[in-house]
Each structure stands twice: as structure tokens, then as C-alpha cells.
């Protein structure tokens, strides 16, 4: 992914190069023309000088001497017929010293010395166009380099200074979590667009938080309201059960109603618990030994495990102690434990161990990995177990989120493995 800075740099550099490339021929032709015009002017000036100062006084016998000392203003015999007269033309001459063909601007002109016709040739050496191009290229490269350098630093400056409020906002949104219920405080900036962005974000987050709150309140109210009818339902069943006239068939019905009400109660309690965790109603923390909690609950779960003849192995390598709410960590471990028992198989096993800041619970079960994308979701059950409320692992996840712990699931060697890192 490209950073905004890099993108800007690339665009600027491309434009600079293209503009420079396009302007190069134009500059070259302009310079060349200017130069030629200047040279032509000088030739004309010399021609005028010759007409005015030399032509009247020069003798024919002086011509060889003249020609010997004037390389570029020479008097030639009137035999040069092929050259156009009185027009400055471009011609190459061999430079005998180098030796190299050099471009010249040349003027041929008819003159008369002591009444005899001669041809005057005035020439001026031009810079080779190769040299000119080379010079221009070097200058351009220099300009390009300086330009890119300037663009780079300006973009860097803009990115850091101008875009600072944007990056600040970005960072705050990244850190924002709906569970924390903390409205991010955006910095006020002098830039309209950023202010607009911050304002829109604030509004959006406020609305989200509001509906999240409403949802939490709704769940809590709903489960609260359910308590009383559930209590009545339960007590009616308790009364019905006392009826000694009930036949086996009716008892069966009462029994299944009883199971249903038990499950309803469990779901309701778990929903309430989730709502309470979300509402941060477990704030008191103390130093908790994980080992103690595990040792405390093992008798209960051993009882639960008897039915399936499950063996529980514990290996508590260190006395892991963490700072947290006692109720929550107990619920967390109970849920993981219960999960391992509930979804276990006949003659299965459970391995519990702590190592460093890691608590792992491994259990046998169905021989296929669970869908990791949904196991921690509410009411998403990994199994068809009718006793399961589908909330146990959601509660585990919620407690982990609240405390900044990491919970992971792995399927290894046919075993289901939950790893909790404090």
C-alpha cells in the first residue's frame, strides 16, 4: 500500500520530468536562433566596417598579406561563382588543427579593389550543436535534481505538518473500541476539511455508542423482565410436581417442562451476566491465584465428568497470579471447564495446564476442528448439544476483551485446545 506522501512525490516528480522534457527542444531552438542572429549581426557589422574602412584603401598587392592575417575575413578571387552572394549561409569548414569539421556562418559579398572585382568572405565559428545540447542536458539534470529535492522536502513537510490532524484523527479512531464506551477527543484544527471530518466522525461514533448502549440496556431490561414470569413458571412446576396423582406420562411432560425452564433460566442468567460485564459492573479487582481457582472447581467438574468417565489431568507449572475481578475470572474458568466437559466424549480426557502467563485447557471431543470464526459469537453453537446455551464462550470472550487478555482456539491431534494468555 502506497503512502499518501509517496503517491504525491511520484506525481510531482513525473510532472516535473515531463515539463522539463517538453521544454527542452523549445529552449534548444530558441537558444540556437538567438545565437545565430547574434553571430549574423556581427558578420554584417564586419562587412560594413570593411566597406567603409578597408575597401577604399586596400591595394591588390596587399591581398595575400591581408588573407594571411585574417582567417575569417578573407578576400577571394572573383572565381567563386557557386556561392550565393550577400546572404549569410551556414557552411562547414575543416579545422586543420584539431582536425574537425566545424559549423560556420558565412557571408559572400562582391567587392571591388582598385576597380577589380573580388569576393569578400566573412565567416564566424558557431558552437557545435552537440556541445549546446550537452550543456542544456547538464543544466536540465541539475535543475531536475534540485527540483526533486525541493519537492521531496515540501511534500514531507506538508505530510507531517498539514496532515498532522488527519493522522492524529486516524490514530484515535484506530484505538477506539466500542466496548470501552470512550468517545475519542479529536484535536481542533484550523483546516475546514479536517474539522468537517472530525465532526462527522464524532457524530457517527456518538450514534454508534448510543445504539450500543440502547442494545445493552435492552438486553438487561429484557432479561430482568423475564425473571418474574420465569419465577412463576418455575414455582408452578414445583407445585405440579407435588401432585401424587400424576401418571408416568404426565410426569414425563413435567420433566421436559422442567428441563426447558432450567435452560431458559440459564440463558437468561447468562444474558444478564453478559450485559453486566458489558456495563462494567465488575470493577473491583484483587490479586487472584489461578491455581487456587482451578483447585477449587476441580471437585465440581470431576462430578460432572463422572458420567462420561472423563479423566482430568492438571499440570500447574507455576503459581500464576493475576490482578482482576474474582467473579469474572471464576466465571471464565468455569465456562472453559464446563465447555471441556460438555463437549467431551465417553472415556475422554481433559488436560489443564498453566505455564508462564498462559492457561491452557485441552479436551477430547468430536474429531473435527470447530469453526473459529463463530465459536465466540453469541448463540452460535459449535455442537448440537441441547443443553448448551450458546453463550458460554461469548462470555469468555467478553471477559477477555474487558481485561485485555487473548483467547485462542486450536485443533491439534484430535484435541480441542483453548489457550488463554493473560
Amino acid at each position: 500500500m502506497n503512502r499518501l506522501l509517496n503517491k504525491t512525490l511520484v506525481y510531482y516528480s513525473f510532472s516535473a520530468i515531463i515539463i522539463l522534457l517538453l521544454s527542452a527542444p523549445f529552449i534548444y531552438y530558441t537558444l540556437e536562433k538567438l545565437y545565430k542572429d547574434d553571430v549574423d549581426e556581427a558578420i554584417l557589422l564586419r562587412s560594413d566596417e570593411f566597406t567603409r574602412n578597408n575597401e577604399p584603401t586596400l591595394k591588390i598587392t596587399d591581398i595575400p598579406t591581408w588573407n594571411r592575417f585574417n582567417r575569417d575575413t578573407r578576400i577571394l578571387p572573383d572565381t567563386v561563382k557557386s556561392k550565393p552572394k550577400n546572404n549569410i549561409i551556414q557552411q562547414v569548414f575543416l579545422d586543420t588543427l584539431v582536425p574537425e569539421w566545424e559549423p560556420y556562418r558565412v557571408l559572400y559579398k562582391d567587392v571591388s579593389i582598385q576597380g577589380k572585382p573580388f569576393v569578400l568572405m566573412i565567416r564566424l565559428n558557431l558552437v557545435e550543436s552537440e556541445d549546446l545540447i550537452r550543456t542544456i542536458v547538464w543544466i536540465y539534470l541539475g535543475i531536475l535534481f534540485v527540483l526533486l529535492l525541493v519537492i521531496f522536502f515540501i511534500t514531507l513537510f506538508i505530510s507531517n505538518k498539514l496532515w498532522y490532524p488527519f493522522h492524529d484523527t486516524l490514530k484515535k479512531i484506530e484505538q477506539f473500541s466500542i466496548e470501552s464506551n470512550q468517545m475519542p477527543a479529536f484535536k481542533k484544527t484550523g483546516i475546514k476539511e479536517f474539522n468537517q471530518l472530525n465532526k462527522s466522525l464524532t457524530k457517527l461514533i456518538q450514534q454508534t455508542l448510543q445504539s450500543f448502549d440502547l442494545q445493552k440496556v435492552f438486553i438487561q431490561n429484557a432479561s430482568h423482565e423475564l425473571q418474574t414470569p420465569l419465577a412463576i413458571f418455575q414455582s408452578k412446576l414445583d407445585l405440579l410436581m407435588q401432585d401424587s396423582h400424576l401418571q408416568e406420562q404426565q410426569l414425563n411432560i413435567v420433566h421436559s417442562l422442567y428441563e426447558s425452564v432450567s435452560k431458559l433460566k440459564r440463558i437468561n442468567k447468562n444474558l444478564l451476566l453478559l450485559a453486566k460485564i458489558e456495563n462494567n459492573q465488575f470493577i473491583e479487582t484483587s490479586s487472584i491465584s489461578i491455581k487456587e481457582i482451578i483447585e477449587e472447581v476441580i471437585p465440581y467438574f470431576s462430578e460432572q465428568a463422572i458420567g462420561k468417565n472423563i479423566t482430568i489431568h492438571t499440570e500447574l507449572k507455576n503459581n500464576l497470579t493475576i490482578q482482576c475481578n474474582k467473579t469474572l475470572i471464576e466465571i471464565l474458568i468455569h465456562n472453559l471447564f464446563l465447555n471441556a466437559v460438555r463437549h467431551n466424549i465417553l472415556n475422554g480426557s481433559i488436560y489443564i495446564n498453566t505455564e508462564n502467563n498462559r492457561f491452557t485447557i485441552i479436551n477430547s471431543g468430536i474429531n473435527a476442528p470447530l469453526d473459529t470464526s463463530i465459536i465466540f459469537e453469541r448463540f452460535k453453537k459449535g455442537s448440537k448439544n441441547p443443553k448448551s446455551t450458546g453463550l458460554g464462550l461469548a462470555i469468555v470472550k467478553e471477559i477477555c476483551i474487558r481485561n485485555g487478555w487473548q483467547i485462542d482456539y486450536k485443533f491439534k491431534n484430535g484435541m480441542h485446545c483453548f489457550i488463554l494468555v493473560f
Binding site: H224, Q227, T228, L230, A231, I232, F233, Q234, S235, K236, L237, D238, L239, M241, Q242, E248, L251, N252, V254, H255, Y258, S262, K263, K265, R266, K269, N270, L272, L273, K276, Q281, V297, Y300, E303, Q304, I306, G307, T327, E330, H334, N335, L338, V341, R342, K387, S388, G392
Partner: protein, 224 residues
């Protein structure tokens, strides 16, 4: 034994009353604050069941009135609020016990039984049931002067059964009673069976008659 049920949910109050009447308790209902105040001031009760969540929070006021009376009644709060804080507050304000809704009637029966025992019999708290003698303070059971070696859970179970004499108690209620805070999560009540089996065996070995009966598929009953 007289019990006052202060509960604004009439249906629930009736159910509680029906259950307790069969236990030979005399029950009276108070469906709102004023009825409750009236009855508290005139009559004497052995145990008062108080719903703290009466409208307008009057439950707490009632608790205060009850505390200021120097009567010898036990108070059990029944509330839809199931938090440690609510329990502590209730107990600090003078309640003897706190039961969160929804509850099993058998659980309520057992709690009333123990609150009344505690209030009436103070230091020498012994229950005699035919050949069985239970010391509530020492938490021991004896049959014809021989101590029955019960575990804590088995003793709890025994008390629970006796507290709901001649009532069928569901396995779920027993399981929840035995597992306390963990109860909300347990879904396998099979362990109740093994505890009952052990209890029956130990009582029989000590020479006690078999009073614990199994109700088909549902639960257990102490018949005597």
C-alpha cells in the same frame, strides 16, 4: 409457624403460599407496602419473605421497619437482583438470607426451615426425626447415638430433604443447591444421584430407615 409473604406478583405469592401451606406453615400475603406495614405491626411472624423490588423501592423501607422492631422473626429477601452487592446490602440491613429469583420452591422451603430453626432454637439446635438426630451447629447426624459419617455435601443434602419433608424435590433444585454459585452453568445433574446414593447407603448402614424415595424421573422425596 406463621409466614408473611410480601410480594407484589400475586401469582408467585400464591404459589409460594400453596407450597408452604402443605408444609404446615400458616401463610399470609401482603401484595403491597401498606398491607405489609399493617400486618407487620399487628401480627407476629416466624418468618417474613420480602420482595425487595416492590414498586417505588418500598421494599428497603420495609426492611428498615422490620429491623427496628424487636420481634423474633427471620427475614428472607426474595429479589430479582442477583448481585453480590445486593446480597451484602440486604444482609447488612438485617435480612437473614437472600434468595434470587427465579428460585425453586424447595430451595425456599429449605431456607425458611433453617432460618426458623436458627431463630427459635439458638444454641442447642437439634432436630429429631424418628431415629435420626441432627445437630445443626455441629453439622452432624446421629442414629441411635451413632454418628453417621457424612460429608459436607451429604449433610447439606439431608437438611435440604428434611426442610422439604414429604415434597418432591427436583434433581435440578438439588443440583443447584449443592453447587452454589456454579449452579447457573451446570447442566448435568447426574452427580446428584451419586450423592443421594451415598447418603442413603450411609444412613442405612447406621440403622436408619429408608426415608428417601425416588419420584419417577423427577427427583427425590423425604417421606416420614
Amino acid at each position: 409457624m406463621k409466614i408473611l409473604i410480601i410480594e407484589d406478583e400475586q401469582e408467585l405469592a400464591n404459589n409460594i403460599a400453596t407450597y408452604l401451606k402443605e408444609q404446615n406453615y400458616q401463610c399470609e400475603l401482603a401484595l403491597n407496602y401498606h398491607e405489609a406495614v399493617l400486618k407487620i405491626e399487628i401480627y407476629e411472624y416466624d418468618c417474613i419473605l420480602l420482595d425487595l423490588m416492590l414498586p417505588d423501592g418500598e421494599g428497603l423501607q420495609l426492611l428498615e421497619i422490620l429491623r427496628n422492631q424487636s420481634k423474633q422473626h427471620g427475614i428472607i429477601i426474595i429479589s430479582a437482583k442477583n448481585t453480590v452487592e445486593a446480597k451484602i446490602t440486604g444482609l447488612q440491613l438485617g435480612a437473614d438470607d437472600y434468595l434470587a429469583k427465579p428460585f425453586h420452591l424447595s430451595e425456599l422451603g429449605a431456607r425458611i426451615f433453617s432460618v426458623i430453626r436458627r431463630n427459635h432454637f439458638g444454641s442447642s439446635n437439634h432436630i429429631h426425626l424418628n431415629e435420626l438426630e441432627i445437630d445443626l451447629l455441629a453439622k452432624t447426624a446421629k442414629v441411635k447415638e451413632h454418628t453417621v459419617p457424612l460429608t459436607k455435601k451429604e449433610f447439606d443434602l439431608l437438611l435440604f430433604l428434611i426442610g422439604n419433608k414429604n415434597k418432591t424435590i427436583s434433581k435440578a433444585a438439588l443440583a443447584e443447591h449443592l453447587s452454589g454459585d456454579m449452579a447457573d452453568m451446570l447442566d448435568n445433574y447426574d452427580f446428584v444421584y451419586s450423592h443421594i446414593k451415598n447418603l442413603k447407603k450411609k444412613l442405612a448402614e447406621a440403622g436408619c430407615n429408608d426415608y428417601i424415595k425416588t419420584t419417577y424421573g423427577m427427583g427425590y422425596k423425604w417421606e416420614s
